[in-house]
């Protein structure tokens, strides 16, 4: 059981001593139950930090944003940023470190173990609350306790936890500077890739029916890209408006740029977008599930990323974000890689 006061004290102490520039964590949100990201620079503010089942955001996104912001100001980091990271978030940070996006000394990882639980999935929770809105959620052993206008409601965590947390293999942040909570790696709440296996049991025709339905629904709002710490490219290959335009860019240059896909939200373009994104995240996605949570039309994006993760694991023995010095999936190879599909 994590005592949030310990995390607050650590944050306050580091800020007071000037060891870190800021602490990125979670605080009470303004939309009822869900926590929201907090950027704390003042030691007194550290009391606002919370740790509850609604801390679903992958905060490593803001390390990326911070680095972009500093680059924009032509500045370099003078002190590290402390960040509260769950198991999956810590792996995201490791992937960013592998890609030399920032240096290890630029980030101070305050690891929090999810222990026997994880974060809540609001879509799974809703049917349990008789139409009421939860205003608060707390951990209690292997249960979550929600507060609604009706009173308190205790639910087993397994019933309302996000799929990714049920299937999580590493709920403990291995890469950390300080860590709270006990290591419960190997807790096995559900078979890894269980949702994926259920989906894959279907035939080619059913799979296409499922995906064509979802590809039609995608509105290409790019929320999945915005929320992903791995989608940090300034120029996105599938989005022509991100290509830089300076006063010196000629009309001819603009006209002759390669547009791999159109920006219209039609099925064929959505497929190319989502598939390209899945390929770009292969070996980098740490299954934090933010893309699927952020999607306004509930496209099961996580399935695509999960498929890539499982292929990498089973065929190439690759685990994303395993260690800072580790190889990248598509820039490394083994003699034993499968080649039987090649004629």
């Amino acid at each position: 059981m994590i005592n949030i006061q310990d995390i607050r004290d650590t944050a306050k102490d580091m800020l007071a001593k000037g060891e870190v520039r800021a602490v990125i964590g979670y605080r009470r949100g303004s939309r009822g139950m869900p926590a929201e990201p907090a950027f704390i620079t003042n030691p007194e503010q550290a009391e606002e930090l919370v740790w509850d089942p609604t801390c679903f955001h992958n905060l490593s996104l803001y390390l990326v944003e911070d680095r972009k912001f500093l680059a924009h100001l032509n500045k370099t980091s003078d002190a590290p940023i402390a960040i509260i990271a769950k198991g999956c978030d810590a792996r995201s940070i490791v992937v960013l470190l592998q890609e030399h996006y920032f240096k290890r000394e630029d980030v101070y990882i305050i690891g929090v173990s999810c222990e026997g639980t994880g974060v809540v999935d609001e879509r799974k929770l809703a049917p349990h609350l008789n139409g009421f809105q939860a205003t608060k959620a707390v951990f209690d052993g292997d249960d979550f306790v929600f507060t609604t206008a009706e009173g308190e409601k205790r639910l087993p965590a397994r019933e309302v936890m996000a799929d990714r947390c049920l299937e999580c293999r590493n709920p403990f942040p291995k890469e950390n500077n300080v860590v709270f909570g006990e290591d419960r790696t190997g807790r096995e709440l559900a078979e890894p890739f269980a949702a994926l296996a259920r989906f894959e049991a279907q035939g080619t025709g059913e799979r296409w029916d499922f995906w064509s339905h979802h590809f039609d629904r995608c509105i290409r709002c790019f929320a999945c890209r915005s929320v992903c710490p791995m989608c940090y490219c300034d120029e996105c290959v599938v989005d022509s408006i991100t290509f830089p335009v300076t006063p010196a860019t000629t009309a001819e240059e603009k006209a002759n740029r390669i547009r791999w896909i159109e920006r219209s939200a039609t099925r064929s373009e959505n497929i190319t977008y989502l598939m390209t994104r899945a390929m770009h995240l292969a070996g980098r996605c740490t299954d934090c599930g933010e893309c699927e949570r952020a999607c306004p039309v509930n496209v099961p994006i996580r399935l695509l990323n999960n498929k890539m993760e499982r292929e990498a694991r089973e065929k190439f023995g690759f685990e994303p974000g395993a260690s800072v010095g580790g190889p990248s999936l598509v820039a490394s190879f083994l003699d034993s890689d499968p080649g039987d599909f090649i004629r």
């Binding site: 894959e200 080619t204 025709g205 059913e206 799979r207 296409w208 029916d209 499922f210 995906w211 064509s212 290959v237 791999w260 896909i261 159109e262 039609t266 099925r267 064929s268 373009e269 497929i271 190319t272 598939m275 390209t276 899945a278 390929m279 292969a282 695509l304 498929k307 890539m308 292929e311 990498a312 065929k315 190439f316 999936l329 598509v330 820039a331 190879f333 890689d337 499968p338 080649g339 599909f341 090649i342 004629r343």
Partner: protein
Amino acid sequence: MSEQQAYEPKVVAFLCKWCSSAGSDLAGVSRIQYPPNATPITIPCTGAMSPMYILSAFNKGADGVLVSGCHIGDCHYIEGNYLARRKMHLTMELLKFIGVEPDRFRMSWVSAAEGAKFARVVTDFINDLEPLGPQDKLKKVVAND
């Protein structure tokens, strides 16, 4: 397409400059007969293949995509085809996953001396594609006015 015309699969063939491209050339100068459905695109190395090329070819109406390069160990850039093997495996699995027929995508190793093998690979591919009919799953729909 009118009723009388038989369906002819359109194949985009990405051939590595050092092996398969020369292999296809050898098939030509050796006067080996094989279907003319494949449009070759020479790439510097299969390691330079981006999954985007494949998705883009399907997006623009290809019925099948062939990627062909040097045999393992023969890459001009030492390791390009090892990297390609991984990337293309992932791309192929993803295509299968969303419900694209597995026969729409094929990869082969054809050396510069294997003109006959290149002809056989293309012939087999076309034969496998014919029963599948036109690829319309990933194809861009252009409104007719």
